[in-house]
């Protein structure tokens, strides 16, 4: 997946300027930047919720357009939003399979299969919940994150966009999410993680992308940078440095 020269403005505010970014299967990209740097805008463009003013997208070498969430879904792009986008009044199982419920006779929901699949899914990710039948409103923040991640994986996406997956979590639950992310890398998914948390970022990512004032400021392999350098890019002290993927 490659995006080239993507720009987006909201009225007078230029949220993204000429951002070009390549994503590869089996790679985890950490997307960093200060508040308002354009991280969420970028994710929402990739997931089809915003329409880019300018720019082109390529998927497996073919030029594609992303105008609608359905377009993104068709390309295998799945998103976990910062606000989680869960339905509080519905069960864990329904939230995981929302919009892709197993059906019987065309019109009917196969609740039993959905609940069974949800159990298998949660087990395979080592996620412990009281029951997959319980409503999401009764879950803790970490448990909700697990449900949201499960949904993204259940979407069968090859490109997973995670918007601050550990923002509301405790230490142990953060570890679990990191474990999930490395698991997805092993399954050859392309993963983008937006985060403010620099502590483990170099361990769980393959590349680091830093946005500053809507521009791509840095894009480098994680092995070739340091936490201090990243902070320099985020704050604009360090000069821009872009190595946009292999062969470029």
């Amino acid at each position: 997946m490659a995006m080239s020269n993507v720009s987006k403005a909201f009225g007078q505010v230029q949220a993204l300027v000429d951002v070009s970014l390549n994503l590869y299967p089996g790679e985890v990209v950490g997307l960093l930047g200060d508040n308002g740097a354009g991280k969420s805008t970028l994710i929402k463009i990739l997931s089809g919720n915003y329409h880019a003013d300018q720019g082109t997208f390529e998927h497996q070498g073919r030029s594609v357009t992303i105008n609608h969430p359905a377009d993104a879904q068709a390309l295998g792009i799945a998103t976990v939003y910062q606000d989680l986008a869960l339905v509080e009044t519905r069960s864990v199982a329904h939230n995981i399979y929302l919009g892709r419920e197993p059906r019987r006779f065309g019109w009917f929901m196969d609740r039993r299969k959905m609940e069974k699949d949800a159990t298998v899914m949660l087990d395979s990710l080592n996620i412990r919940l009281p029951s997959q039948k319980v409503d999401v409103e009764l879950l803790s923040g970490g448990q909700r994150q697990a449900v949201a991640l499960s949904r993204a994986i259940a979407m069968g996406g090859s490109i997973l966009l995670l918007d601050e997956p550990t923002a509301a979590l405790g230490v142990e639950q953060t570890q679990q999410v990191h474990h999930l992310i490395t698991g997805m890398r092993r399954q050859d998914k392309a993963v983008v993680v937006i985060t403010h948390d620099l502590s483990d970022i170099l361990d769980i990512t393959d590349r680091i992308a830093v946005l500053r004032q809507g521009k791509l400021w840095a894009y480098v392999p994680s092995s070739e940078t340091t936490t201090n350098q990243i902070i320099g890019w985020i704050t604009g002290v360090a000069p821009p440095q872009i190595q946009n993927g292999a062969g470029q």
Partner: protein, 316 residues
Amino acid sequence: MISAFKRQDNWTLIGLFVTLLLMIALFSWQTEFFFSTRNFINIGQAISIRGLIAIGLTVVMIAGGLDLSMAAVAAVAGMVTASLITLEVNSVLVGVFGIAAAGVLGAFNALLVVKFRINPIIATLGTLLFYRGLAFVSTGGDNIVVGVNAWSELGRGSWLGAPITVWLFLAVVVMGMCFMRFTVAGNHLYAIGGNSEACRNVGIRVDRLRGWTYVAQACLAGLAGLMLTSQSGTALPSALNGAELDIIAAVLLGGIALSGGRGGLLGTLLGLLIIGVVQNGLIHLNVQIYWQSVVRGAILIIAVTLDSLRRGGGYR
């Protein structure tokens, strides 16, 4: 089973059911003729026409909407069917046109709410006045008397000892419950009421589904209008005038949240039964008719207050 009782909605249903039983016990103890098959059929008949509309409203509200215009839609449908009967149109077409006319009014509601994004309370308050006005304008305020006709059996006939209106109402309740619980679309309506943005994100056609709830609601109101006309042999432009508030009260009593996503048709059925039993019981007690509204209002207030306290917060 234990996990089922942890669900908040189920506690609401249990509370309603106990309340209903207490009411029945109270009136049976206090009055002579309340506890009889004949009287229970009366109660069923009294709630079934409004009940049809309440079922439609329940579905609209579960999806996070609201429709105040449904009683006016029923009145328009009644006027349309009665005019067609006087014109001696084929009786099957009378029914089809009457309900279709209601469906068109529902589609207009859907257009305002879904396409033009007008708050459903405001949009359907407007169409309530508009449709009610149409019903009066159509005859200059006169009633249309149709007398006995091919449709009379629908409102007056009975089958297996109970009125056809009651059977029809129960059939729609059961179909509605199956639809909301077992179909993908029904479950999507719950999810849309819970968080419509989340549903859009995963590609559910939120607007289309929401729009259809208004059309379905109007078609049920149209059926109710047809039943009213056939029952009384007369179409009144003022039919069900003011009933919209009673219907909303029954639905809210049944545990449907104004914010959507919660509750179900079983709750609405219990809400209707409680209001029907109270209404009927007060008549048996020879209580002055004006107390009816006071008691119904008090029940609604007590019920939603208890519910809000139990949920630990409620309206914020």
